[in-house]
């Protein structure tokens, strides 16, 4: 006779534990499979998101060169001096140049025109990658002949074919074909505009080169092949040679990082939904195991009587839970791999580079492993109670009472906290955010528990003997022994809370991207209107019966010093960010804030999208020689660490100008009005080189076309930005993003359904016995059903209310502290959730009551 294992580890590997676990599952396999599904859904969401991120990352790594089309991109708003190239000749194998700007492209008659991004190129750009064109070879033809290549959309819009003519500025170009793939964008601000490619040497003939104020110049450098160290040294040399004010240098890695950060941010939100789905799955597991253990209390008690050590009895059910978790994990990982491929197929074309659904075995293994551990952790909560089952339960007639909580559970809660935190970290959140996320879930859990106990007390207090019996009986079930109130509130309530929170968060994210398209919102912008052209343009507007919504003069300038500290001195700081003398190390001024070119305006009043936060506008009249009072946008003031009264020296196209912050204002950037970081009072910038921006609102595409045709003749250098087409592009992108978010939120919903089913099954046994007793005592089927329905409707309503209350609170907190937007209570989702929750509960209660009534009292009484 071998001694039985008394340690848990040995017990877990004891063959009898596995044999007994298998036998014990016999009558419960269908039910247990349901819970494996809830784990599977959670794991599926987690693995799909992680695998997607890994695929994006890998695709980025393999395509970094293609993203930029060159080893080094040197960019400037001014023509780039080529002198440094002489010294760099030993490091560079090829060079190329580009001048890019927005201009109107029209058909030769001028009847139809459209704003395009003109890219005048010279040299072999893009390097190391081929450009796909229709017809094939059109890219090479462009190098050799006068012509123009277009985005496919432009060919369709102008209804032109290779050989047809289009007009750019003063010159007609022969259409050589369309570019289908392979020319990386060198200017990130041109993202929405269709592109037209011409030779750089043909640019002067258009007459557009000199008149455009928003021109970008690019220099492409292909480095000589070498080791990584040699490449780094060469890059350092290039940076040094082009370290001029206003010159930016970008490498493929920089761009990859930019995209990667964007992807990571999107993933952060999606990860919350994945974690939510997983935690819901975990709660489902805990509920399932709890019910299972309750049904197994007599078995455990008998085993203890027959000489089974408590750890071995515990191991039997731990083995079951782990196997269940493993099955769910394997299924979830498989589904996750499939969902990953589907997501790439579905959302891949929303990204600016190709994403292949690469197999991610390691990522899937890692995330599935973490998910499995989390599910096992949740299963431990009810499993621990096995160790407290007493063999004396065999002597009691009704022995299905699961022992109460013990101190050991505190350890499991700590373990769960750690596991959820680890999974949140695995999702990419930093330690603090992961902690906040985990704590939020913990608070929700605790709040729902407290709410459940509160509701039990409340129902006990509110119930009156005068109530109809069926109602009284149904409501009383909420607080009677063996009630399901706590379990329901924790599963369905927490499910509702998590689902609504996901929904609300999605709404908040989308509301930040929401486009204000009201009647007073401009949808047509005129850029580069020279001061002497404003009268002409206004006349055109008047002729077309269009209002001039805004007319803002625009003057470019740079920051020279802040609070007496010169920009050159600040730039000497070793970090990527600059710091002011009194700034703490963590309060550095972002370098781009110091280096960028600001386009400022001057006016007396603030517009409707601006609010004064500090100081006053208009400022008091200033005297000659004193600093000019200006108004700063709040974020810029924050980045510059300046407030009202602080002095800034600006470089207005070579002329230094002393200014003092007179007003800090908040700007609603979501509006399409003309807004600026710096606003000057009139009387200062009028003589500085400037152009005007005018806005209007066109009622239709036809009006827009007519206006553009007239403008092309009256003021050919003026660029028209028709926001209606850009809005369509943005809306399409947002729609895709929203669909991906909703798809992921769907995972959470799917994870919630097995929990609902589980919670209902949990109560079945208890209600079965009670209902049979009632029927034995003379209750009709209808009465039994009514009692069950009342109880389940009440449970559904209470769970939803508790979950909704928490979710609305969470939404309020997120709106206030994370998204910093006004909180808008959304009744729609709450009412939908209420209807679904009550409807689902009642439906399930109805199914339950049907199954209760389908059994004869004798069947149940015989089973004890």
């Amino acid at each position: 006779m071998q001694p039985l294992p008394t340690s848990l580890v040995r017990a877990l590997f004891h063959p009898w534990a596995w044999r007994m676990a298998w036998r014990d599952s016999r009558s419960q396999r269908g039910r247990l499979a349901l819970y494996a599904v809830s784990i599977a859904v959670g794991i599926c969401a987690l693995t799909a998101i992680h695998a997607l991120r890994a695929s994006v990352r890998q695709s980025l790594d393999t395509q970094t060169k293609n993203l930029l089309g060159t080893d080094v991109l040197v960019s400037s708003r001014q023509p780039i001096a080529q002198d440094p190239l002489v010294n760099l000749s030993s490091l560079i194998t090829e060079t190329g140049s580009e001048t890019a700007f927005s201009s109107m492209l029209s058909d030769p008659s001028g009847a139809h025109s459209r704003l395009v991004q003109v890219r005048a190129l010279e040299g072999g750009f893009p390097f190391g990658t081929t450009v796909d064109t229709v017809p094939v070879g059109a890219w090479q033809s462009l190098q050799e002949q006068h012509g123009i290549l277009l985005d496919p959309a432009l060919l369709a819009e102008f209804d032109v074919h290779p050989g047809d003519k289009l007009k750019l500025g003063a010159t007609e170009f022969t259409v050589l074909g369309e570019v289908t793939k392979g020319v990386p964008r060198s200017n990130r601000f041109s993202g929405f505009a269709s592109e037209a490619f011409i030779r750089l040497k043909d640019l002067p003939s258009t007459g557009l080169a000199g008149s455009q104020s928003l021109v970008f110049h690019h220099l492409f450098l292909e480095l000589r092949p070498g080791t990584e160290a040699e490449r780094k040294a060469a890059l350092a040399e290039v940076r040094k040679s082009f370290s001029l004010k206003g010159v930016q240098i970008q490498t493929p890695e920089d761009r990859s990082e930019t995209f990667g950060e964007g992807i990571d941010k999107a993933k952060e939100f999606l990860s919350i939904t994945a974690l939510t789905a997983l935690v819901l799955g975990g709660i489902g597991v805990a509920g399932a195991i709890h019910t299972h253990i309750r049904r197994r209390v007599p078995t455990v008690a008998v085993l203890l009587c027959l000489g089974c050590p408590a750890s071995l009895a515990f191991a039997v059910y731990m083995v079951q839970a782990a196997t269940l978790g493993l099955m769910g994990t394997v299924l979830g990982a498989g589904l996750g791999a499939f969902a990953h491929a589907a997501l790439v197929h579905f959302a891949g074309n929303s990204l600016p580079f190709n994403v292949a659904a690469m197999p991610q075995p390691l990522v899937i293994l890692e995330t599935a492993g973490a998910g499995f551990l989390l599910c096992c952790g949740f299963a431990l909560l009810p499993l621990l109670r096995i160790r407290d089952i007493s063999p004396t339960a065999t002597l009691n007639a009704r022995s299905e009472k699961v022992p109460g909580r013990s101190l050991r559970e505190a350890g499991v809660y700590l373990l769960l906290f750690g596991l959820v935190w680890s999974v949140a970290r695995l999702n990419g959140a930093n330690s603090l955010r992961a902690l906040a996320l985990t704590a939020s879930l913990g608070v929700a859990f605790a709040s729902l528990t407290a709410t459940a106990f509160g509701l039990m007390k409340f129902t006990r207090w509110i119930i009156r003997p005068s109530w109809p019996y069926l109602l009284r009986q149904g409501v009383s079930n909420l607080f009677r022994p063996q009630n399901q109130t706590l379990l329901f509130l924790l599963s369905l309530g927490l499910g509702t809370f998590l689902l609504l929170t996901t929904w609300f968060t999605q709404s908040l994210v989308l509301s930040q991207l929401k486009i204000d398209n009201g009647p007073s919102t401009p949808n047509l912008y005129l850029v580069d209107v020279q001061p002497d052209q404003t009268r002409t343009v206004r006349a055109v507007f008047e002729a077309e019966h269009l209002p001039v919504l805004e007319d803002a003069p625009m003057v470019t300038m740079r920051i020279e010093s802040v609070k007496g500290l010169l920009l050159s001195a600040i730039e000497k700081q070793p970090q990527n960010a600059s710091s002011l003398p009194e700034a703490k190390p963590t309060q550095r001024v972002p370098r781009w804030v110091m280096e960028r070119e600001y386009r400022s305006t001057y006016r007396t009043t603030l517009n409707a999208t601006e609010t004064v936060l500090a100081g006053a506008w208009p400022p008091t009249p200033f005297v000659a020689g004193a600093p000019v009072p200006i108004s700063l946008e709040q974020q810029l003031a924050k980045d510059l660490k300046v407030g009202v009264g602080d002095e800034i020296v600006l470089d207005v196209q070579g002329v230094p100008l002393r200014a003092v912050v007179a007003c800090v204002r908040k700007v609603d950037w979501s509006k399409f009005n003309l807004n600026f970081f710096m606003v000057f009072p009139p009387g200062v910038l009028e003589d500085a080189p400037q152009f005007h921006l005018l806005t209007t609102r066109v009622p239709s595409g036809q009006t827009s076309g007519a206006l553009q045709r007239t403008l092309l003749r009256a003021a050919p250098n003026v660029s028209v930005v028709d926001l209606t087409s850009i809005l369509a592009t943005v809306a399409s992108l947002l729609q895709k993003a929203a669909r991906v978010i909703q798809l992921l939120a769907g995972f959470t919903l799917a994870a919630g359904l097995p929990i609902l089913a589980g919670a209902l099954l949990n109560g079945r046994d208890q209600r079965l016995r009670e209902s049979v007793l009632l029927r034995t005592l003379g209750a009709s089927e209808q009465q039994v059903r009514a009692i069950v329905l009342v109880e389940y409707a009440a449970l559904g309503a209470l769970s939803e209310l508790a979950g909704s209350l928490l979710a609305v609170g969470a939404q309020w907190a997120a709106a206030r502290w994370i998204f910093k937007t006004p909180h808008a209570f959304e009744t729609g989702p709450v009412l939908v959730a209420l209807a679904i929750s009550i409807g689902g509960s009642v439906l399930a209660g109805r199914t339950l009551s049907r199954s209760v009534c389908s059994k004869t009292p004798l069947d149940v009484l015989r089973q004890g």
């Binding site: 001694p3 039985l4 016999r26 078995t299 008998v302 089974c308």
Partner: protein
């Protein structure tokens, strides 16, 4: 006389000294067993009788190490229960104790044969199918080996429980109202089997019962009232 002499020479299989059990609920306390002394010799049959609430089942549970006493001691098969951990008590039960319960307490997911095999499996013994089958045949269930408890009648379930208790003959068998859920004829059959197995294996038998006929089959009757032994008769 011969039996008494033998009993005094052989150490008792169960020795209870000054056993008390009190349940506390806040300020209130309820003493359900008060200073119980009891000794059961190997092979002895002892019926514990008394009205409901007199403490019979509580005494049985304490004697089998299923619960902890408030005071006093229980020595079972030479081991003092108070000094043993829960796992050690379980091991002792696996080695020396058998049970028959009023509500049968078969494991619902195991067949009749598997239920009988459980004690052997827990002892780490492989095989045993033949013995278990033989025992089930002996109690008249040779053709119900693969039936689950819910497919058996009450009497059949109790016979499976009996086979389980005797598959490895215990030193002592505790039976809590073994015929409480059975009809008179089934009870009679079962009691016959119980005592036959007791005789064949020399197992001490401690029965808790309300049934005077069953109590009368025992060599010794312990009467309880309000948590105390009021009579210890050896008819």
């Amino acid at each position: 006389m011969a039996e008494r002499t033998l009993s005094s020479l052989v150490p008792p299989v169960l020795e209870v000294r000054a056993l008390s059990k009190t349940y506390s609920d806040g300020d209130r306390s309820l003493t359900v067993l008060d200073n119980i002394h009891l000794s059961v010799a190997p092979g002895e049959t002892c019926a514990i009788v008394g009205p409901s609430g007199s403490g019979k089942t509580t005494l049985l549970g304490l004697c089998a190490g299923l619960d902890d006493a408030t005071s006093g001691s229980v020595q079972l098969d030479g081991e003092t229960l108070e000094t043993l951990s829960q796992d050690a008590r379980a091991a002792l039960r696996g080695r020396s104790v058998g049970f028959v319960f009023q509500n049968f307490q078969l494991i619902p997911t195991l067949t009749a044969l598997e239920n009988v095999l459980v004690p052997m499996e827990l002892r780490g013994e492989s095989g045993g199918f033949a013995e278990a089958e033989a025992l089930l045949s002996k109690v008249g269930l040779g053709k119900r080996l693969t039936h689950y408890p819910h497919q058996l009648s009450g009497g059949e379930q109790q016979r499976v429980a009996l086979a389980r208790a005797f598959v490895r003959p215990p030193r002592i068998l505790f039976a809590d109202e073994p015929t409480g859920n059975l009809d008179a004829i089934t009870s009679e059959t079962l009691v016959e089997m119980l005592f036959a197995l007791n005789r064949e294996n020399g197992t001490a038998l401690v029965l808790v019962t309300h049934d005077p006929a069953l109590a009368a089959r025992a060599r010794r009757v312990v009467r309880m009232h309000a948590g105390r032994i009021i009579a210890d008769e050896r008819p």
